[in-house]
Subunit: 213 residues, 2 copies
C-alpha cells in the first residue's frame, strides 16, 4: 500500500524534519549548500532551471502521479480536487534531453555517513532504469550523503547490479566512491551533475558506442 510517493515527501515534511540550520559561522569560500536548508531534490530542481534557462539541457522532475476521485467545480473559481490518492509511480523522477542524449535518473539522499541503504530505490525504479538502458539512454542515480555534504553521480548499471544481489542491503561509501563521479556543489548550477554526464558520454564514445553505463 502506497502511503506517500517516493522522493516526493518533501512537500509534506514536518518542520522538525528540516535539515538543521548551521551552527557556526562558515566562511564565504566554504559555503555549504546543504547547510542552507536545501534538499537534494531542491538542488537538482535549481540546477535544472539553470540548465534550461541557459539552453544547456531540458530536464524536468515528473509530477507525482495522483488518482483523482472527486473534483468540485465551484462557480467563478478554479476546480478543487476533493478526494485523491497517491499512485505508485512506474518510472524514475527525472528525465530529459541533453545534446541529443536521453537522460534518466533517480536522486536519493541519506543521513548515513558510511553506507547507502539500497531500499531507498524501489523495484519499479530499478526496472525502469534497466528498460531505458536497453534503449541506450544515459541512466544514473544521484546519491547524496547529506551529513558529509558529498554527492555522487553513479551509473545505473552499478546500482542495478548491487540492488539485485541477494543479502546486500546497502552499499558502502567506498563502493559508491569507486563506481561514481563525485560532484562538488557550486553556485550556478547548485549541483553541476552534467559534468558527470559529459564523462559518461566521452566514455561511451571511447567504447565505440558499446553500452557501458
Amino acid at each position: 500500500m502506497v502511503k506517500y510517493p517516493s522522493g516526493s515527501s518533501a512537500a509534506f515534511r514536518k518542520s522538525s524534519d528540516k535539515p538543521k540550520k548551521r551552527k557556526k559561522y562558515v566562511h564565504k569560500d566554504d559555503i555549504n549548500f546543504s547547510d542552507r536548508g536545501m534538499t537534494l531534490e531542491q538542488m537538482i530542481n535549481e540546477s535544472n532551471k539553470y540548465y534550461l534557462t541557459k539552453e544547456i539541457a531540458v530536464v524536468h522532475k515528473k509530477p507525482t502521479p495522483i488518482q483523482i476521485v472527486k473534483v468540485d467545480y465551484p462557480k467563478r473559481s478554479r476546480a478543487v480536487i476533493k478526494e485523491a490518492y497517491f499512485r505508485q509511480e512506474s518510472t524514475t523522477d527525472y528525465n530529459g534531453v541533453y545534446k541529443g542524449y536521453y537522460l534518466d535518473f533517480e536522486a536519493k539522499e541519506t543521513k548515513n555517513k558510511t553506507n547507502f541503504p539500497l531500499k531507498n530505490f524501489h523495484e519499479h525504479q530499478i526496472i525502469h532504469l534497466e528498460q531505458c538502458l536497453k534503449q541506450q539512454g544515459i541512466c544514473f542515480t544521484i546519491i547524496g550523503f547529506t551529513a558529509l555534504n558529498r554527492y555522487f553521480v553513479t551509473p545505473a548499471s552499478a546500482i542495478i547490479k548491487a540492488w539485485w544481489e541477494k543479502d546486500k542491503s546497502s552499499v558502502t561509501i567506498e563502493e559508491v566512491e569507486e563506481w561514481s563521479i563525485e560532484i562538488n556543489c557550486g553556485f550556478q548550477p547548485t549541483l553541476p551533475y552534467l559534468e558527470a554526464v559529459d564523462q559518461f558520454i566521452a566514455d561511451r564514445k571511447l567504447n565505440n558506442g558499446k553500452q557501458k553505463l
Copy 2:
C-alpha cells in the same frame, strides 16, 4: 486560470461526451479503432504499453501536475488528499527513449474534418518543443482527426512555425497531410507512431545530423 489540465480531461469526461458507438456493422477487416470508444490518448497509451513490453521503446505519459494543499493520514489506511488543485504543466504530455533517441511529443484530437485549430496547443507546449529541438530531441505532434479516423505524426517544427504565425488560427487538413506522416491504426500497436519516428531518424541521418525536424 486553469480549470483542468490540457489533454487529461478524459478522466472527468461526462458519459455524453464519449465517442458515439458505431451505428452499423463493420466488417472485421475494416475495424475502426476510434469507433471502439478509444480516445487518442488511450490509443497512444496502449501503443506505449506494447512498445514497452516488446522492449522497443520506453515512452510514458507524464502525470498531471497537482498542487497538494491538504492530506489526511487515516489510521490503518492510505493517505487521502483532501484539497488539491490542477497546476499549469510546463512540458508536453509524452517523452521517452527509442534507440538512443530522445522522443518528445504532444497528442491532440479534433472532431473537425477540414481544419485543426491551433489553440489546441498551448504556449508552454510549443516552447517546450522548441527547447527540446535545440537539444536535438525528436519532437513531434500526433494529430487525430477522429471523425475521419485519420492520424498524423507531424514534425514539431512545422506546428511551431504555424503556431507563431499571426492571424493563423488553424491549419488545414491539406497542410497537415503535406507536413506529416500518416499512421494507420492497427491492432498491436494500436497506433504504430514509431514508424513515423523511424522515418524522421532516417531523414536526419541523410542530412548528416543537421536538424530537420
